[in-house]
């Protein structure tokens, strides 16, 4: 069953056309890894899906419901209230974590429940503890982000997104800002979420991880989907020259 349908999505920043007509259908439970060179538009694509960036053109439908309405010039007009609903249903995890430094770990996880959902404090706290335990950080509940390692910060950020019960999770290079020895703990958490059957889109440079966790791989080039398929198809037997070149450059020093 389709949870997300993207048609003809475009986005430009000034004179630069970052996304040039993306068509994408995501079924519930699918795990899609988005690969591509820097500047290929993969982060922008992800950020358009929960409207952190306003799409320039094209449409996005969530759960069969078309978002926004058509304006006079054919452009789509989105109401703030609608986007706020969408963002609660589509969770996002950032490369730079974006934890709130003035709140403890549990404060970060409770924040959406309290401020956005208006949940009473005891209830929010219980829920937040559950999510922290899920990412293995129950004992760090009262620690401020400044005293957490990068990997721990990212796990708190994942717990913060999970607390909102999102139907879909977006990961924007979740391990790119981490020291190599901390990457594993974050990938393990994401893998566990995958095993629960969660729907997720993941922009990553970890090809091995993408191979193991994803059900589909999308290779983006110049703001368009250049090649897509199962991990075996795209990563092991890429059909397109550019995909091959990209994979080769990422495996340059493998042994």
């Amino acid at each position: 069953m389709t949870i997300l349908r993207v048609s003809g999505l475009t986005k430009r920043f000034g004179a630069t056309e970052v996304l040039r007509g993306i068509d994408l259908e995501v079924a519930r439970g699918e795990r899609i890894a988005i690969l591509g060179a820097s500047g290929s538009g993969k982060s922008t694509l992800l950020r358009c899906l929960n409207f952190m960036e306003r799409p320039g053109g094209g449409t996005i439908a969530l759960d069969g419901q078309m978002l926004g309405r058509e304006g006079r010039a054919g452009e789509r007009i989105y109401r703030e209230n609608e986007l706020i609903q969408v963002r609660q249903r589509v969770g996002m995890v950032f490369q730079q974590f974006n934890l709130f430094p003035h709140m403890t770990a549990i404060g970060n996880v409770m924040e959406g429940l309290r401020t956005v959902r208006g949940m009473p404090k005891p209830e929010a706290e219980a829920r937040a503890r559950k999510e922290l335990a899920r990412v293995g950080l129950a004992e760090k509940a009262d620690t401020y982000p400044a005293h957490l390692s990068g990997g721990q910060k990212q796990r708190v950020a994942i717990a913060r997104a999970l607390a909102m019960d999102p139907e879909m999770l977006l990961f924007d290079e979740p391990t790119s800002a981490l020291d190599p020895e901390l990457v594993g703990e974050v990938l393990a958490v994401i893998l566990a979420l995958a095993e629960e059957g969660r729907t997720m889109l993941l922009v990553t440079h970890e090809l091995g991880f993408a191979y193991h966790v994803a059900t589909r791989i999308i290779f983006l080039a110049d703001g368009a989907i250049h090649e897509q398929g199962t991990p075996d198809e795209v990563l092991k037997n890429p059909k397109k020259e550019r995909t091959r070149a990209f994979l080769a450059s990422h495996r340059q020093f493998s042994f």
Binding site: N50, M52, E80, I84, Q85, R87, Q88, G91, M92, F94, Q96, N98, L99, F100, P101, H102, M103, T104, E111, G112, T115, V116, Y144, P145, A146, A157, R160, A161, M164
Partner: protein, 219 residues
């Protein structure tokens, strides 16, 4: 030359009345100035021209005219233009508050702008509205960075309260002038006024250091 503070101590009552007057106008201007400053600062931060332009005009006007002139204008000129009298306290409070609002608006704007865009991303990704993100995520962090500058504003407001004496509002300097002219003891009277100001302001500054330390507990 002999210092003789007896003539000042004889007028403790007058100084007490002056101190109450100073504290009253300080409290009014601190609250009005800093809260109006936040509103104007948000206007300056806004990309909406209907908010940005009036806020900018306000800031430039009140930053670039002397507070004393504003106080005198509100006291002497405004009642000619409008059909009502204005008390010395109201005229002085208006002048000092509006001037402080203009200066603190720039502190707020700078503080808010200094917060990384990732914090907005984090807040919005949870489904927060602009106001919620500002109140819960951006302002608390900005406030911490702005505290030293806002403390300076508060000190400045406290000291600007002496300008109210220009329209004969009863505050410390006004009472000091009175004592000095009645007893011919300007040295003692003005020294006493200066000391009283220091005695009020020094703890205020210490309190702001305490606040800064408290706000730093998340580091």
């Amino acid at each position: 030359m002999r210092w003789d503070f007896a003539s000042v101590f004889d007028n403790t009552d007058a100084l007490l009345v002056g101190a109450v007057g100073t504290l009253r106008i300080f409290a009014i201007c601190l609250v009005l100035g800093l809260s109006l400053g936040l509103i104007v600062g948000l206007g300056r931060y806004s990309r909406n021209r209907l908010l940005h332009i009036p806020a900018t005009i306000f800031v430039e006007f009140f930053r670039n005219t002397p507070v004393l002139v504003q106080i005198l204008w509100f006291y002497f000129a405004l009642p000619i233009l409008l059909p009502f009298q204005i008390s010395p306290l109201a005229a002085a409070s208006l002048g000092i508050s509006l001037n402080s609002a203009a200066f603190s608006a720039e502190i707020y704007r700078g503080g808010i702008q200094s917060i990384e865009t990732g914090q907005w991303d984090g807040a919005r990704a949870l489904g927060m509205r602009w106001g919620q993100a500002m109140r819960r995520i951006i302002l608390p962090q900005a406030l911490k960075r702005m505290l030293p500058a806002l403390t300076n504003r508060a000190i400045e407001i406290f000291k600007m309260s002496t300008l109210a004496s220009a329209v004969a509002y009863v505050e410390l300097l006004q009472q000091g002038k009175l004592i000095a002219s009645l007893n011919y003891n300007p040295i003692e009277a003005y020294t006493a006024v200066a000391v009283i100001f220091f005695v009020f302001l020094w703890p205020l500054v210490q309190f702001s250091y305490f606040l800064e330390r408290r706000l730093r507990r998340d580091e």
